[in-house]
């Protein structure tokens, strides 16, 4: 196999809508490969970790595939990383989904469930549908995207980050929660760019370009 200088590895750990993410990147002309091979991930110029489902299963599957260490190592080496939904959540210290479950601890903070009281009890869980993202800081992969644009969400847990400086975007659902983080080479969204029509594709394109320049 010829090594591509711009290949982005989409990590396949048996969960989530890998194909949609692949198709999204293909649409914007990025060179992506679906893989669960640590060697290919090490060779890749960027890593995408998509995923919907349970935090615990995600960590367990990555562990079974011996990918936990390699993902953290690549992130620490400065390789561009895009986490989507669970790919955001597992960056944090731990999740309270089904008891406490350890995450990658790249960032300090907890993954917690939406809890609503009083009038807000009418708010449905999961938080499902299109909601706006308020840009706290604009990451380079958000080139051309306006503040308060709509993106597609589907999740019952959100990240409570202890590190405020990494928060790049917030969203209002009964409360203001962190919907995007960015630190150096690490980008992660609670929403699904691959399901957010043109604006979502623009983010995938932005990540592809960031990888090229990295």
């Amino acid at each position: 196999m010829v090594k591509s200088k711009t290949m982005i590895a989409i990590v396949d750990y048996g969960m989530g809508n890998i194909r949609s993410v692949e198709k999204g990147f293909a649409k914007v002309g990025a060179d992506v490969r679906i893989t669960s091979d640590p060697k290919i991930i090490a060779d890749a110029k960027g890593i995408v970790l998509p995923g919907v489902g349970a935090f615990r299963d995600c960590m367990k599957n990555l562990d079974n595939l011996k990918l936990l260490d390699s993902i953290v190592k690549e992130i620490q080496k400065g390789k561009p990383y895009l986490g989507i939904c669970l790919g955001l959540q597992i960056l944090f210290t731990e999740s309270e989904e089904f008891g406490i479950c350890k995450g990658l601890d790249v960032f300090k903070g907890k993954v917690v469930k939406f809890r609503f009281e009083g009038n807000q009890q009418l708010l449905k869980i999961p938080h499902m549908g299109w909601n706006t993202v308020k840009l706290v800081r604009k990451p380079p992969i958000f080139d051309g995207i306006q503040d308060n644009s709509y993106f597609y969400f589907v999740h019952s847990f959100y990240v409570a980050s202890e590190e405020k400086t990494i928060v790049a975007g917030t969203t209002d659902y009964g409360m203001e929660f962190t919907s995007m983080v960015w630190k150096d080479n690490v980008f992660a969204t609670q929403f699904h760019p691959e399901k957010s029509q043109n604006l979502g594709l623009q983010i995938l394109k932005g990540f592809g370009e960031f990888v090229k320049k990295a």
């Binding site: 949609s20 649409k27 919907v52 449905k124 869980i125 549908g129 299109w130 019952s156 594709l201």
Partner: protein, 284 residues
Amino acid sequence: MLAKRIIPCLDVRDGRVVKGVNFVNIRDAGDPVDNAIFYDEQGADELVFLDITASHEKRKIILDVVEKTATDVFMPLTVGGGIKILDDIRDLLNAGCDKVSINTTAVNNPEFIKAAAERFGSQCIVVAIDAKRVHDSRFEIDQKREVPEWLNASSELKQRLFIENPSEKAWEVYTHGGRRPKGINAVEWAKYMEELGAGEILLTSMDRDGTKEGFDLELTRAISESVSIPVIASGGVGNLEHLYEGISIGKADAVLAASIFHYREYTVKQAKEYLKDKGVAVRL
């Protein structure tokens, strides 16, 4: 703020989009991918494909439809119809679909919803409920009611879910496009499905489906207020006011319509502009 969703629904048979006002008069109106692109351009929030393919051999065609659609359209895609085993769900998700909508299989075996939610996550398991007012359809109940075995087998579930008195004010769960009453109370059924792991309810009033008289608002509200998962209202939309009522009175989180969009009476964009003028949060 979370926007209310507008969801066009496409009936697909043997890989082609159809939508008739009744079962006899089904009109062929084209290619599913073209239809999906058409709605994508209008700013639809999601798409639902309802697969009404009758023949089992042709069921794989829907996978090809999903695969092609997901190559060009980047929004949430739900497929309903004919899902019987967990591998059906897996195949659809692998083809690029995001959620599956399950009706008959849930009624035949509620534990299927639990197994599906455990394996694929609640977020992709939509339970479709077809419901009809009991006190308007008493004759049918007496004639045709088919109570599932699992319901007769459990006194606890029977007490909770069964509509004992056919004259009580309730909505009954139906399968097979509104032809087979099941004796199950739709509101209680929705709650039970949430408990077993459903992530969303797609609620269709069989009294209103195809009538263009608007949603059954009382039913929609009763279910939406009984569960904490999102509810999509369906069945009966004839104009934009109906969509507004479904959200404002019915308390639906999303509204689904077929014919008003399909026959281009309104565009999705027009629907959203109308709702926005009425103060509803929509994505424009």
